[in-house]
């Protein structure tokens, strides 16, 4: 580690309030021996920040209403321009909250057991005969199964057309797309999240995004609808064991000249997959057969 003031690592962190006032970070740490460095490092624990995972998840300060905190398996606030990822058991409830109205949760889903099975946006729009995501909309794989279903939605402003941003897009729009920079692309973040599960470029299909709506006009124009305002949420049920990748980045069609993204809260808790006795299971002929395929796969695998 260098202590030089020209270190680029120091600059961005200085933008966030971390209880350090205007003092230089260097002046706050006594690290001239292993013992003092260890003391200094350990003294930093136990703090909280605006965006962080909460461990154990049951200790989340933002446990969703009517959820038993002890059932939580994932609790996190994703920073603007940040990403997260998790492997979830079948039946897990997954909830995204947009506290400011400026979050944009770009999502990719994979079958955690066989990641070559993954979200297929074309099938997700075509098979339900519906382009816009909402209550009971299945997120389908290319293998005819339900990876997840939208089980709750207080926003109604989502998008399955535009996918996420690329480096080329953000460089053109914001002049920068570095994942560590001020305007990271969604794809750049997905690449890192995927890499942590052994996946790479070719494993990233088109995705969907929540909280910033797009509507297709009669001539095909993709019209910007934007957010439904602060305080909305979306809830999903993992109908299969899932690898979930999330990037919280500005939507490609966001018309604002700046890169505006709010924090994204993520919570997941134990639950059961949609079962044959529930109305959703047979809500439409297509959804019914998709569930039959899903249960068939899971039963055979002993899930």
């Amino acid at each position: 580690m260098t202590t030089a003031e020209s270190s680029t690592a120091g600059a961005p962190h200085g933008r966030y309030p971390a209880g350090q006032g205007s003092a230089r970070a260097r002046d706050l740490h006594l690290t001239d021996s292993v013992r003092s460095a260890r003391q200094d490092a350990r003294a930093q624990g136990g703090q909280s920040g605006q965006w962080m995972p909460y461990l154990p998840a049951s200790g989340s300060p933002y446990c969703p209403p009517e959820v038993d905190p002890s059932a939580l398996v994932w609790a996190e606030t994703v920073a603007p321009g940040g990403y997260t990822h998790k492997v979830l058991a079948r039946g897990t409830r997954l909830r995204f909250d947009d506290p400011t109205g400026d979050a944009c949760a770009h999502l990719l889903l994979f079958n955690a057991l066989e990641p070559i099975e993954r979200l297929n946006v074309a099938d997700t729009q075509k098979i339900p005969w519906q382009a816009y995501l909402g209550q009971n909309h299945p997120l389908l794989s290319g293998d005819g199964r339900v990876l997840a279903v939208v089980s709750g939605d207080s926003s109604g402003r989502h998008d399955a057309f535009c996918g996420t941003t690329t480096d080329a897009w953000n460089e053109r729009k914001y002049g920068d797309a570095r994942p560590e920079g001020p305007s990271p692309s969604g794809r750049g973040l997905f690449l890192k999240a995927a890499a942590k599960h052994g996946l790479s470029r070719r494993d990233l299909p088109p995705g969907v995004s929540f909280f910033q709506g797009v509507r297709v006009e009669s001539d095909g124009t993709l019209g910007w609808q934007g957010s439904a305002g602060p305080g909305t949420h979306v809830e999903l049920i993992a109908e299969m064991p899932l690898l979930v990748l999330v990037a919280n980045v500005a939507h490609p069609l966001d018309p604002r000249p700046g890169y505006v993204v709010g924090p994204l809260r993520v919570h997941a808790w134990r639950g059961a997959p949609t079962g044959p006795g529930e109305p959703r299971f047979t809500a439409t002929p297509e959804l019914h057969r998709a569930y039959l395929n899903t249960v068939d796969y899971c039963e055979a695998r002993g899930l």
């Binding site: 297929n120 074309a122 535009c162 490609p252 039959l292 395929n293």
Partner: protein, 275 residues
């Protein structure tokens, strides 16, 4: 990669010296006798570097060199040509529906649409088009998705995903490389309430679309065998694939092998100046 793939065998009954071989295999349907077929010609002037027929139900692929123009002829009318594109030099960079749509701000493909990669760069550009709009929302049919759409009794049928897997395998690609695709000559409207679906086509025998390669592009096509919706008018017909080199120099040296490396001109001709 080879420039072309030869030996497109039409789906016909196999024959041995003793005559046709009986088969109990329930293969896909082909067009009815008497179907009008218009074989057309290239939409763009140039020397022909490839001229092949894709039989009903069959896959096809070829590398289209930078600057060359691929014309696809809808020989029998309303025959969906499901299509995927890959950068020939780096197939992990491949066609992307959302990038194509986001960059143009429109959900439909028409003349001028730049077909972009998952990294936002141009792969091909639609330079001519003889139907109102082309589809890239509807995705590909497949055995698995057919079970959702029509029931498990059609699981045995052939599908575009099967064609893509078979043809991708011949090019060293696989299931990880299949993404949402283009559907030339297919009609998928999005209505005001978000209702979306494959409806009767707007094409006709001999209608064409032409796409110019902005760099060397591997083109995968599935001549859609679907018999449960109107994406081929329930009458699978052939496609004609024509690649021409439109440059004047190439016209003088007809049928010369493709010029070794045209990549030095990369991006110069790409629309929107993006690269």
């Amino acid at each position: 990669m080879a420039t072309t793939r030869t030996g497109n065998t039409p789906v016909t009954r196999p024959t041995v010296p003793g005559g046709p071989v009986a088969s109990t295999v329930p293969v896909g349907a082909v067009y009815a006798e008497g179907t009008r077929l218009e074989w057309g010609a290239s939409l763009v002037e140039g020397s022909v570097v490839l001229d092949e027929t894709v039989a009903p139900n069959a896959p096809w692929s070829a590398v289209v060199r930078q600057g060359h123009v691929l014309t696809i002829v809808d020989v029998g009318g309303n025959q969906s040509a499901d299509c995927l594109l890959y950068s020939a030099d780096d197939p992990e960079e491949r066609y992307s529906v959302p990038d194509t749509l986001s960059w143009q701000g429109n959900a439909y493909v028409r003349t001028g649409t730049v077909l972009r990669s998952n990294e936002g760069r141009p792969l091909m550009t639609v330079v001519a088009n003889e139907i109102d709009r082309q589809d890239t929302i509807g995705g590909a049919c497949g055995k698995e998705s057919n079970t959702l759409r029509y029931g498990h009794h059609v699981m045995f049928q052939h599908g575009c995903r099967e064609n893509f897997l078979a043809e991708a395998g011949r090019r060293g690609l696989g299931v990880r490389d299949l993404v949402s695709n283009l559907n030339w000559f297919m009609n998928v409207p999005v209505e005001a309430d978000g209702a979306l679906g494959i409806v009767d086509g707007m094409s006709a025998p001999g209608r064409r679309v032409a796409v110019r390669a902005e760099r060397d592009v591997l083109v995968l096509v599935s001549n859609c065998p679907q018999m449960n919706n109107p994406c081929n008018d329930f009458n699978p017909t052939p496609l004609r694939m024509l690649v021409v080199d439109p440059t004047p120099a190439a016209r003088e040296t007809r049928l010369a092998p493709p010029v070794g490396d045209a990549r030095s001109a990369a991006a110069a001709g790409t629309p929107e100046g993006a690269s």
